[in-house]
Structures are given as C-alpha cells and as structure tokens.
Symmetry: C2
Subunit: 381 residues, 2 copies
C-alpha cells in the first residue's frame, strides 16, 4: 500500500501513497513523533522542545508494512512508527493557496438565498442531544450564525445558550447587556434607531468573536434583525474590484469607543483581515466606532474610502441579507469576526427587550470538534 524512499542525505522521505507520492522532511517527521518519549501519553502534549532534537537529525532507514511506516533517525538511533493515514492527512507536499481571499474548509458563504434555510436549533434538543448540538454547531461554523428557538423566557436565559458551547466573555458592558431604549444612552444600540449592519466592538482587541442576542419581549413594531455574511461581502468586493479588496486588507483602520467614564477602547486592525497566506479570517465593519483612519498613505486614501464605501453598499444590498424577527424565547448566535448584524428602527409603542452577551469561538469550535471526534470514535468502534 505504501512504499518508501530516502534521499542520499537522509533528509527527505518520499512516500508512495494511494494519493500519489508525498515528501516529508526528517526534522518534521522527528518533531511529529507520537512515541511516549516525545509525547505525554495522557494529554498528548509534546515533551521535547525542538532544541532537544539534534540539529543534524536525519533518517537512516525507512520501511513500510501495511499502513505502518517505520523510520530510523540518526544520530539518536531512535526508531519511530507512523500511521500512513496520519501522514496523508498531514502532508504538506501540495500546492498552496495563491489567491487572496480564500476560505477554510467547512465555511460556506451565503446571501439572502439562505433565508429559508437558516440554521435553527430547538433549545431543549440542543441541551439534551449531542448529535443535534453537533449538527447545529456544524451549521453555525459553516454559516457563522444560527438561531435558537423555544428557549426559556427568563432573565439571563442567554447564558444557557452560551453554556451549550462555551463561556461568556465579560467586558465593561458586563457579563451581559440589556438592549432596550434608554433615555441617555451610552451607546446607540440602546436607542430605537435603526443600525447599519456591523460587527460589534471592533475597537476591542481581541474582538469578542461570538455574540449572542436573545429576546425576552417583543411587542414593538419594527426592530427586525438582519444578518449579512461579511466573508461573502468581502469576496464580492474582490470579484468586482481586486484592488478595492486589497486596499482594505493591506492597511489598518482604527476604531474607538470612549462613550462612558473610565473606558477608552482603541484598536488598529484592517477592515478585512487575512492570514499571511491570504485566507480571510476576519471582518471589522462599524461606522459608529470607526476612528480617524491614519495608517493609509496619502496616495491611497481616496481609493481606501472608495473601497470602504463600496463594501458598505454591498453590505446594505438586500440581496445579501437574511432578515428574521426574534420572538420571546428565541435568540441567535453570530460569529462576530465574520457575520454582520443589524436591526431595523422601532418605535416607542410596545416593548422590545433583548439581552446580549459575548463569547468566543475557541469554545464553540472546540465543542464542535470534540463532538465530531467522539462521533467518529463511536463509528469506528
């Protein structure tokens, strides 16, 4: 099934696999040994630092037997066995992304067409059925948002939603905040104004990467919620005008919020954030808290503002938006590094009372990955 070949210096293993030939370096292989001297048996953490492996590490023998690849390393004189499937899954001898704006596996962009297919989880089911929770988290990860319905109608119910997947990120706004009309609002969110689609708290670094909004009362006219896929908007901008995408990705914006005593939050981050290899990993878009942009060179500023305007037009395009109304006992979760949310204006008649809080994607992704792993293990047993 596998055959092995070493180069004369013992630096490169060429493994012939069912997927074609794959090359691996001696040092990479040695650093990724899973034997009990290299990795702690219980928790899988690496016991050795790279400096403890000889700098002149090379391979003197390699052999395949069934799915197992055995390699002998010098000067340690150490023999390590690898699973061929693991090597295929972790191979790096492959073409790499060359275009900016690509998206990771398990992410699908969307527009208003998602309206009839919004990820919805029933609170009781999510709470009791790991498969239902796993399926809903898969969708939340894929689309960057999801609704919860039939939840409790009680003060603090939103924390029970967070408990499904992670932990509350407390901020100066508290462990949670009340979204209802206030007389002297510290934030425009606490008025009846319509709000352009935005990501929350771009002035915070690290930004809260998950937001939960949960409805307790909803008899006022208007106030519908709306979400827009920021990754889809960024990619549409790139298709229309790659230079516009680049100018927003290549320069930092600045954001600020200093609307209350003792608070002065400031950040310097691009509106479109890319990994060094061009993956889109974040969007920050919020007209209310954009500070003076001072990190764009003079000769790029006109293009920057034109790109920022066009991105806003795309975000405001009804073809991009999914609109829904939250009823009491319903809430939604958004990936705040990706999905923008908005609400339509509402008037003083009747009441509208939402509670909101922040959380982070590490917990959400970890819960999803752990559920997927345990499902795979069950399937394998």
């Amino acid at each position: 099934m596998f055959t092995t070949q070493l180069d004369p210096a013992g630096q490169v293993l060429t493994l012939t696999t069912p997927n074609g030939p794959l090359r691996f370096h001696a040092m990479w292989l040695r650093d990724n040994s899973w034997d009990p001297e290299t990795r702690a048996a219980g928790n899988g953490q690496r016991l050795l630092s790279l400096g403890e492996l000889p700098a002149d590490t090379h391979m003197t023998e390699a052999a395949a037997s069934g799915d197992q690849i055995t390699i002998r390393f010098a000067p340690e004189g150490k023999t390590v066995t690898y699973d061929g499937g693991w090597l295929i899954d972790n191979a790096y001898d492959r073409p790499t992304a060359t275009e900016r704006g690509w998206l990771g596996d398990g992410i699908s962009t969307w527009d208003s067409g998602l309206m009839g297919n919004v990820p919805i989880g029933d609170f009781a089911q999510l709470s009791s059925d790991p498969d239902a929770l796993g399926a809903w988290l898969e969708q939340v990860t894929r689309y960057g948002f999801g609704k919860v319905v039939n939840g409790p109608i009680e003060d603090g119910a939103l924390f029970k939603v967070v408990d499904l997947f992670g932990y509350v990120r407390e901020t100066n706004y508290g462990r949670h905040f009340e979204v209802r009309t206030e007389v002297n609002p510290t934030n425009l969110a606490f008025t009846g104004l319509g709000l352009q689609a935005h990501t929350d708290n771009p002035y915070r670094d690290p930004v809260p990467s998950v937001q939960v909004l949960y409805c307790l009362e909803s008899s006022a006219a208007g106030g519908e919620n709306m979400v827009v896929d920021g990754f889809a908007a960024a990619r549409r901008l790139r298709e229309e005008d790659p230079a516009a995408f680049d100018v927003l990705a290549n320069h930092c914006a600045r954001f600020e919020y200093a609307g209350e005593e003792g608070v002065c939050l400031q950040s310097r981050r691009p509106m479109i954030e890319l990994a060094p290899d061009g993956e889109i990993i974040g969007l920050r878009f919020n007209n209310r808290s954009l500070a003076a942009v001072t990190d764009v060179p003079f000769d790029q500023m006109q293009a920057y503002y034109a790109a920022y305007r066009r991105l806003g037009e795309i975000i405001d395009d009804p073809a991009m938006e999914v609109t829904f109304r939250l009823e009491p006992g319903e809430g939604f979760v958004v990936d705040n590094t990706r999905v923008l949310h908005a609400r339509k204006g509402y008037s003083g008649e009747g009441t509208r009372w939402l509670q909101g809080c922040y959380s982070d994607k590490d917990g959400l992704r970890s819960t999803f990955a752990a559920l997927s792993r345990s499902r795979r293990q069950e399937a394998a047993e």
Copy 2:
C-alpha cells in the same frame, strides 16, 4: 498659525501647519466631522454611515482662524469646523513603515538587563491610587509584564489583581486554574517539570491576551519564574537573519490541545504575527502544543524548521531572560501575545501553589488610556 489651500477639484486641502504642510482629502475630513449631526453628543459615536455622505463630496471653501479650520462641503452645503491640533495629531500625509517588524509607540523591548528594573506595583497602592495604577499599567503596556507584591494571601486573590484593570476570560480550564503538582495531569503545567518559555494557549483563537499567575504557597526548592520578551526575540531573529523572520511570519503554524474529555482546541496562526503593514502584533511559541505544521510549502519547510529552532535558541538564551521568584502574595501579569513565561523544575519537597487565570488586553489598555486621558484633562483644567 495655519493657512489653507484647496486644489481646483476641492478634493484635497493643503494645510500649512507649524509641523509643515499636511494634505487631507475631502471625504476623510467629512467623515471625521465632530458636529452633533455627525457624531452623537454623549458617546461620540458616528450617526451617519459613509453611504449617507454624498459620493461626490468636495470642498468649496476653507479658512483658518487661530487654531480653527473651517471647511464648507458641497453638495451638502455643510460647514464644519476642525481643531488644528486634532488635524495634526491625526494627519496621514506622512511616510509609512517600510520595514517589517516595527513596534508601536509605547512599546520597549528588553532583555535580562531589565532584571533590576522590573515593573512592580504594591497591591494596596494600585488599588487606591489611580496615579500609581496608571504608572504601573504604562510599564505593563511598555514591557508586556509587571509584578504585583504585598497582595492578599487567600484563595482567589488573583481576581483582585484582574479587577485592577479588566475582566477574567473564562475557558475550559475554569475562571482560574490551580498550578500545583497533580498525579494524573491533564496538562504538563500541573507537574514539577521545568517548562520552556512559552506563550499560553496558542491553540485558542482568540488567544487569551493577558495571563495572571499568583503565588499562595512557595516552600519547594526551584520553581522560579522566568519571562522573555517575545518581540525582542523576534526582532533579534530578524536582525540575524531576515529570511528566518519572514518564513515564520509568512506561514501559519498549527496548534492543538485535546488533553481532556470534550475539548479539542485547534488554531492556525503564524508564530510571528504581523499587521498588514509589518508591525509585530503577536507571538505564539509553545513546543508542547505545536501540532503538525501543514501550511508551509514543501520547499520552505527546511528553512521553517531552522528558523523555528533559531527562535527557540534565542528564547532560551539567558541573556534574554528575567528571572524572579514569586513569594506568597505576589503575582505577575504578562501580555500573553508577546511575553513568554517559563518556570524551572521543582521537586516534591515543600509546596508550590500558584493560581492562574486569563484576561484580555482590551480592558488593560482601556483602563490605562482612560487614566491617561483623565490625567491630561486634569492637567488642562
């Protein structure tokens, strides 16, 4: 003091200032108006989205009077007055960074020479004296770490340290974690092993950007703490070998922790993280939780591992490290996106009991900025 000049199209204002001429674009100026129709009076948030400003905004008049610059915008027919000092402070008509690896204002790198000058705050003073707290936070921001001494010796005292500047980031490890020897450790931190200098939780995205470690018992031999400035290490690598710096900044590493039931934390981020304009904004370094690196192209992997090795050697160089011993009632705060921490091995005799927790830089920086602002306001009154 100021003179103004408009280009024929009304797109560019050239302002002659005590600092020389500075150019500003019409759209930038209009978007940065601070009049009450543009910005909410109480909280300073922008009331208009860019789409609500005419795309053909231009200037028809500009005049200076003392420190005030008045501009008339068409087609709105709107007159806005700017403070000349604000324009100078926010000018973008200036040379931009061309070298990778620069550092922001208020950041100073350090090595073992900082040993005699570690930022130390007295807990009672930090709690009662805003000037002392501001001065300590300035140092913590500058160096990325600081000690607290003479604090309470009681379970949970570390939360009182966090309360000085921010909020606890709860994770799967809890609101805090106990650092003492365990029999079946879920994490190597909970053993007596020495640990190479590292940043915590690089497998988490967003990474917890502040860590607090606080000592409650300390009679075991060994177990000294050590900190290393990761920004200094990255810049030293860059001085020695720019290509080594680049290969670590240009490609994502992968980190993983799945050492306990229900947890599978994974991230894909570079070891050296740069803003798009080359500012160093983060370091992730942790041999224990580095997963298989699969995003480095085959022909770069050897160089990548050589750079990773050299960065580790620099981090392990005693010339880079500041060592101290925590006594009961003492703790330290580190910027976990920058400063690595380590501890020397310790033996079973006596006890060593620390508590640790995570927090975030947004709160720390906001508290520092708000204290600085109120000090400036007092000085101006």
